[in-house]
């Protein structure tokens, strides 16, 4: 159990654990909107959208990650963030992201609105746009 005013946070991706420790505050974005989680928050289950995941480790230190689509579970003063990717901003490759963005835009224009192929392209575009913005600071 974390110290008072601290929240246990686990950031997990399919390729391994990215962060595990105590933070003062976690902020991210769900489908409903921006969300900030402090210690002893009520239980939450949310679908996350691509954004900057901020972990306020202390007053002076904030860890930032580019976060893709995923899920958030807050229970018993523990926040578990399950995302496909959580990458430090300096590890992003702007060139590759630009390519992914134009590829997603091409697929979006080629597919019929409402099909599964279309919603896939929408999702990819959302991710590439957000990551590119984070990469460019």
């Amino acid at each position: 159990m974390a110290a008072e005013h601290m929240l246990d946070v686990e950031v997990l991706t399919p390729e391994g654990e990215v962060f595990n420790g105590e933070v003062r505050q976690l902020s991210t974005r769900t489908e409903v909107g921006e969300i900030g989680i402090l210690a002893n928050h009520a239980p939450v289950l949310g679908a996350l959208l691509p954004t900057t995941l901020r972990l306020h480790v202390s007053d002076s230190e904030t860890k930032r990650y580019a976060q893709s689509h995923g899920w958030l579970q807050v229970f018993d003063n523990t926040a578990r963030v399950l995302v496909e990717e959580a990458v430090a901003p300096e590890d992003l490759d702007a060139g590759a992201l630009k390519e992914q963005l134009s590829d997603a835009e091409r697929r979006l224009s080629e597919s019929e609105a409402g099909t599964a192929e279309w919603s896939r392209a929408v999702k990819d575009k959302q991710r590439a746009e957000t990551f590119l913005r984070i990469a460019q600071g």
Partner: protein, 305 residues
């Protein structure tokens, strides 16, 4: 009997082969450990997903009717996904998959449906092209180190094809990793998604997480869902397809390395055996030559006396 020189050069080349196969065995063994680690790394994530799903489905009163869970009555086209490797030299690793794929295709035709192949791995692509099979998807270049992004591409393409009714069922055929020495060819129905895949097997339900239990114990209003539980589940469930594909790719990668390790060890042992045989042969040839020379000297001396 071959001359000494011939046997010598054969020994040299066998020794080279022995060195190469030993090196390949060791490389495969080292990468296998990393590969097994990656299977272990996935577990916390997939367990976390299961917990989320259980909580959401407990609040939504069961799993919603989403397209990927819906079984089709009239199956006309069946997608068959074969997971092979980019490289060979791994024993029967690739050919086992191809054989099972062809067998499955026959079974599908027997049901009156058309098989539609997708193939992961260069070896599978070239084997299927050689058999003049049309491929609806080719995924190559990552089989020894698959990333989740690779799995997502495959998983989402399959889901899209299933939801858009281009296929009515999808089967996944891959080498399941049992141990470094053993792999089993495994066939799994990927779509429609099996309920057990989502909520876990019966055994998993018994050790229900404390979160789910106390989640049920607490009044329902205490959980905040963003978005609502039903909608959350509708997004969550298709993710299992990608996770299943990812696990299959990881298991196949570990199996490939295990199979290569075994194949290369056998090859190296075989090279040693041949080396022993050839050394014996060379010694015999040398001895025969010496005997011959002595005989010549002796008979020459006798002729003089």
């Amino acid at each position: 009997m071959a001359s000494q020189k011939e046997v010598k050069s054969r020994i040299a080349s066998i020794k080279n082969i022995n060195k190469i196969t030993r090196a390949m065995e060791m490389v495969a063994a080292a990468r296998l450990r990393r590969s097994e680690q990656r299977i272990a790394d996935l577990r916390p994530y997939s367990e976390g997903m299961r917990k989320l799903t259980r909580i959401a489905s407990a609040h939504a009163g069961g799993l919603p009717r989403v397209p990927v869970l819906a079984e089709r009555e009239n199956v006309q086209r069946v997608g068959i996904v074969l997971v092979t490797a980019d490289r060979g030299l791994a024993g029967a690793f690739n050919s086992n998959i191809i054989r099972e794929g062809m067998r499955s295709a026959d079974r599908v035709r027997g049901e009156g449906a058309d098989p539609i192949f997708s193939v992961v791995g260069r070896k599978g692509v070239s084997a299927m092209t050689f058999r003049k099979q049309e491929l609806s998807g080719e995924y190559v270049g990552f089989t020894d180190r698959p990333s989740f992004a690779d799995a997502r591409q495959i998983g989402e393409e399959l889901v899209a094809r299933y939801v858009d009714e281009q296929v009515d069922r999808v089967e996944l055929i891959y080498n399941r990793f049992v141990s470094p020495l053993t792999q089993h060819v495994w066939r799994q129905t990927l779509l429609p998604l099996q309920q057990a895949e989502v909520v876990g097997e019966g055994a998993a339900a018994e050790e229900e997480s404390e979160e789910t239990q106390s989640g049920d114990g607490q009044s329902r209003s205490e959980w905040f869902f963003e978005p609502e539980a039903e909608e959350l589940l509708a997004r969550l469930i298709p993710e299992y397809v990608t996770i299943s594909v990812y696990r299959a790719l990881l298991e196949s990668a570990a199996s490939e390395l295990g199979a290569r390790m075994t194949a290369m060890r056998n090859a190296a042992e075989n090279a040693e055996k041949i080396n022993d045989k050839l050394t014996l042969e060379m010694n015999r040839a040398r001895q025969a030559e010496i005997t011959q020379q002595i005989l010549e000297v002796v008979s020459g001396a006798e002729a003089l006396s």
